[in-house]
């Protein structure tokens, strides 16, 4: 099976994406998983723009409404033990009702815990990660590269995480 990346997009948007000029990228980085999965500590990262309402404020969706070509580049840490009722949502490009009914569709903490319980995964990390996937049009990625992601990497190292499962929305 070949995945149609544009199956759920209006044709007008597909055309915009396909016409986008893509800069050549350097070699694909690669870090082998240093140990078996059943001895590895795993963290999750979503671009669903969610946050923990008990410890953080939300992403700046109000500014994006005023400035449609801007997207909030900040990041949020989501504790593994977050309760569903405490998940803040507000992403302006998807239907957040689905996330509100089940966080696992973007950040499958419960599923990861089950795999740990089955002995398939070594451990679930203490902290997980959220950004707002829309970074403007065209995307401005400097703040992610120089601030948000390095901050995440520092926390990943402090938590001794072996691998990250990232899921854009």
């Amino acid at each position: 099976m070949e995945i149609d990346s544009f199956r759920y997009l209006p044709r007008s948007l597909e055309r915009l994406y396909r016409d986008a000029v893509v800069a050549a990228v350097a070699k694909t980085p690669f870090t082998p998983l240093g140990k078996p999965l059943n001895q590895s500590r795993i963290a999750l990262l979503t671009t669903a723009g969610i946050w923990d309402r008990t410890r953080d404020v939300g992403f700046d969706y109000a500014r994006e409404k005023r400035e449609p070509f801007w997207g909030d580049p900040s990041g949020r840490i989501i504790p593994a033990a977050i309760e569903g009722d405490n998940v803040g949502t507000g992403h302006l490009h998807i239907n957040n009702l689905h996330i509100q009914s089940d966080l696992n569709i973007v950040l499958p903490l419960d599923r990861l815990r089950e795999l740990v319980g089955q002995g398939i995964v070594g451990a679930i990390a203490k902290n997980h990660y959220s950004v707002m996937g829309y970074q403007g049009f065209p995307p401005h990625l400097a703040a992610w590269e120089h601030e948000t992601i390095p901050h995440f990497i520092g926390q990943l190292r402090a938590d001794k995480v072996d691998a990250v499962v990232l899921a854009p929305v």
Binding site: S5, R7, I94, H98, L166, V169
Partner: protein, 113 residues
């Protein structure tokens, strides 16, 4: 998303991306990708479909152990809703600010050509 995976991977932590747009992985050199032909906003599957979500997560984790650099694997189970329903229900209740802005412009880039 490619920049997120590439930067974390380059820092020495293995990554795998679960995405409905593997198109970008192929263009931007993402280390490991599981492509899912799912509507936007639901990369691990339908709400409350625990078994389906677990299977997608498991398939992604398997790539961490076994995959070669740059691999893109297609998840071969179809989305369980009819296509028209899935296309309708992933959208936000109001158009995003960018779409709303474009729709007001005389040179709206979304106009049919």
């Amino acid at each position: 998303m490619p920049v997120l995976a590439r930067t974390i991977e380059a820092a020495g932590i293995a990554t795998v991306v679960v995405t409905m747009m593997p198109y970008w992985s192929s263009l931007y050199g993402v280390p490991r990708t599981l492509g899912v032909e799912f509507p936007f906003g639901q990369p691990f599957g339908m709400p409350k479909d625990d078994a389906g979500q677990r299977a997608v997560l498991r398939a992604a984790l398997d790539l961490l152990e076994n995959a070669a650099p740059g691999i893109i694997v297609a998840w071969d189970r179809p989305w369980p809703q009819p296509i028209e329903e899935a296309r309708r229900t992933w959208h936000p209740p109001d158009p995003s600010p960018l779409i709303a802005y474009w729709l007001q412009q005389p040179d709206n880039p979304l106009r049919p050509r």
